[in-house]
């Protein structure tokens, strides 16, 4: 089930080449639904999104991201708030226009015309964090789920489609919920209604932004199990944006960890969460309860501002490996401070870190 077991391992020194092409970059990774490397369902290529910030500054919210979503996989996009993960998700959905780079859906570049976007939004559905905010309190469950059908002008079999979507989302018997209002439902049921609203259009991709963060703990698992079931039964691909590494461990196949607009580490969940390479990922994993990674390493300070991205490796001001002298010992401390790292290539596991690259090279040089 795991990806990348036979692929090039994460420490292969030349993996950080900046110009990996989608085809060339496939490393034979196996995802549950597709044995052979398939064309990504959705991909971001050298994606850059900038915003104007007050005072004439520019926030580099997403600053060069290669990301592929393979058919039938669940990809977790993790990182602290402000790292750009939600902006990536919004851009993947066409809600945000890239400043540079682009999105491809099933191999074709995403078009931003009104008609093309509308068509795309049948295929790629968004599930938001807070189901209470996502539902109109004055619409019944039926209307909430049917809304997407009406927007897309699908009028045949509306009732059946709504009932089907509700039962796939685990609200059974569906008819019992048709006339309910959101306030009559529990938090878990509301999130199921939101998911049903996404399913009713038979999407190929679901992008879920913190799908269980506002739910009660005991209900959380049920919604996550539902997302996994949708993948298994309908072959949906999903990007799950989360700060919660436990969630990634629970349901995701691969994980991309973002820091300040860049992916710093990407690969299979099994590898990255049990043996993280990047010092930032290591720190994130280390503060988990019963962490698989040694002593908790609490990083000082807060994620820096996207309007003021540090030079060199953007993580270097907070990097425990640099502060602790490991980078110095490996002879890369100057690189950490001055040499910018290339963007991780598309479609491969990798770590964007001078120290990790230097160590891998050292291992390769001493056979």
């Amino acid at each position: 089930m795991t990806t990348d077991q036979t692929g090039p391992d994460q420490t292969e020194p030349d993996r950080t080449g900046p110009d990996g092409l989608p085809e060339a970059a496939q490393d034979g990774a196996a995802v549950p639904m597709a044995a052979a490397p398939a064309e990504p369902a959705l991909a971001a290529l050298e994606l850059t999104v900038r915003f104007n910030a007050p005072g004439g500054r520019t926030a580099r919210a997403v600053d060069g991201v290669n990301l592929d979503l393979r058919p039938g996989e669940i990809l977790a996009l993790a990182g602290e708030s402000g790292c750009g993960k939600t902006t990536v998700a919004r851009t993947l959905l066409g809600l945000e226009r890239p400043t540079a780079g682009g999105i491809t859906f099933q191999g074709r570049p995403l078009q931003y015309g009104t008609k093309a976007l509308k068509a795309y939004r049948r295929d790629a559905q968004l599930v938001l964090q807070d189901p209470t905010g996502a539902l109109n309190p004055r619409h019944t469950v039926y209307d909430a789920v049917a809304e997407g059908l009406r927007i897309h002008g699908i009028h045949d079999n509306e009732r059946d489609r709504v009932a089907d979507a509700l039962s796939r989302a685990g609200l059974r018997p569906a008819e019992k919920f048709f006339l309910a209002y959101p306030h009559e439902l529990s938090g878990g049921q509301r999130q199921r209604v939101v998911i049903a609203g996404a399913l009713v259009l038979d999407p190929k991709i679901i992008i879920a932004d913190e799908p269980v963060a506002s739910l009660d703990a005991s209900v959380r698992g049920e919604i996550l199990a539902l997302l996994m079931r949708l993948r298994d039964d309908l072959g949906l691909s999903a990007v799950v944006v989360t700060h919660d590494l436990g969630l990634a461990w629970n349901i995701a196949d691969r994980i991309a960890v973002m820091y300040l607009g860049r992916i710093v580490e990407i690969g299979s969940v099994d590898e990255i969460l049990t043996a993280p390479q990047h010092p930032y990922t290591r720190a994130l994993v280390s503060v988990l309860p019963d962490s698989p990674v040694g002593e908790p390493q609490v990083l000082a300070g807060e994620p820096p501002d996207a309007t003021d991205v540090p030079g060199g490796c953007r993580f270097h001001p907070r990097c425990p490996a640099l502060a602790g002298g490991e980078a110095e010992a490996a002879g890369v401390a100057d690189d950490c401070r001055r040499t910018e790292l290339p963007v991780l290539p598309l479609g491969q596991a990798g770590t964007s870190c001078h120290l990790v690259a230097a160590r891998a090279q050292a291992v390769a040089a001493t056979p």
Binding site: G187, S218, G221, H243, W249, V269
Partner: protein, 352 residues
Amino acid sequence: MTTGATEKDDTKEGSGAVRPTLEIDDLRITYRGSRGEIPAVRGISLSLNPGDTLGLAGESGCGKSTVAAAVLRLLPPGTEVTGRILLDGEDILAMSFGKLRAVRWAGASIVFQGAMHSLNPVHRIARQIAEPIVLHEGIGREAAERRAVELMSQVGLPSWRAQSYPHELSGGQRQRVMIAMALACAPQLIIADEATTALDVMIQAQVLRLLKQLVSERHIALVMISHDLSVLADTCERLAVMYAGRLVEHGPSREVFAGARHPYAQALSAAFPTVGDPAERRNPHGLAGDPPDPGNLPSGCSFHPRCPVVMDECSTATLALRAARDDWQAACLRVDGPEAVAAPTLLTKGDA
């Protein structure tokens, strides 16, 4: 007000037998609203000595925040409260309002979840931290603001932030301001109600580490309320799990988290996967059903409609905590631990 503070200082200095900082005895709280009477807390007993840390876990509507609000008598008027709450031996429920004001901040303080909404947007940080100091210790504003800056450095905020407004701070920094305020009048008890829930993992780790350190340095008793069992298990020595207004499990936190006896506590700890545990990989655990409506509770054990191991008796039996071990209790018919007598303050007495 100052008398209240000095009185407590005396008792704090007095050595000898340990008097519990907080003693809650058969606390029952009923809200009265348009939907009639809602029993939010249905007989809870707890006790904390100086330096004790207790995690109070449960889902929304289980009554955990109601317990916190009751300790400082912050419940809406008309709410019926019975039982006893003793803060350093003094009965909170019987206290005059003037005395109560002295106890708030100086005896016990609460850190709430939404630091954004708890801070006044038009006052500078130092002034807000200084406010309870001015009120409780009767010292001048300038001296109080100097103390505020000291407190800020103790919680890891740079002193130049003293003249900032809340909106200029990040979420983690604002939460630190709340902790500094909670510490301002040197209370014996801090209640942290979902104090780190809205924070990022790394900032949460920073704030928790800080809280842990301050509590042990100053011998403060800490009640930490959260839905996140894994955070509580990591921060507190003891863990109490609430369901539908009652304690269903209470014991040493690492052990409860790893091997809860009550099926609900088991489900709750399973909801927080241990990253790296192969058993939980691609295997999210949930509990069917939803937390019960406090206005319409199931009969018998309130958990029985959702319980995966329910027995016939569960729908009728009324349950108190039973000893699973001498320092560990659970309210489940399936628990029959040693006959050892549990610490009496930990038991729920009687049943309605």
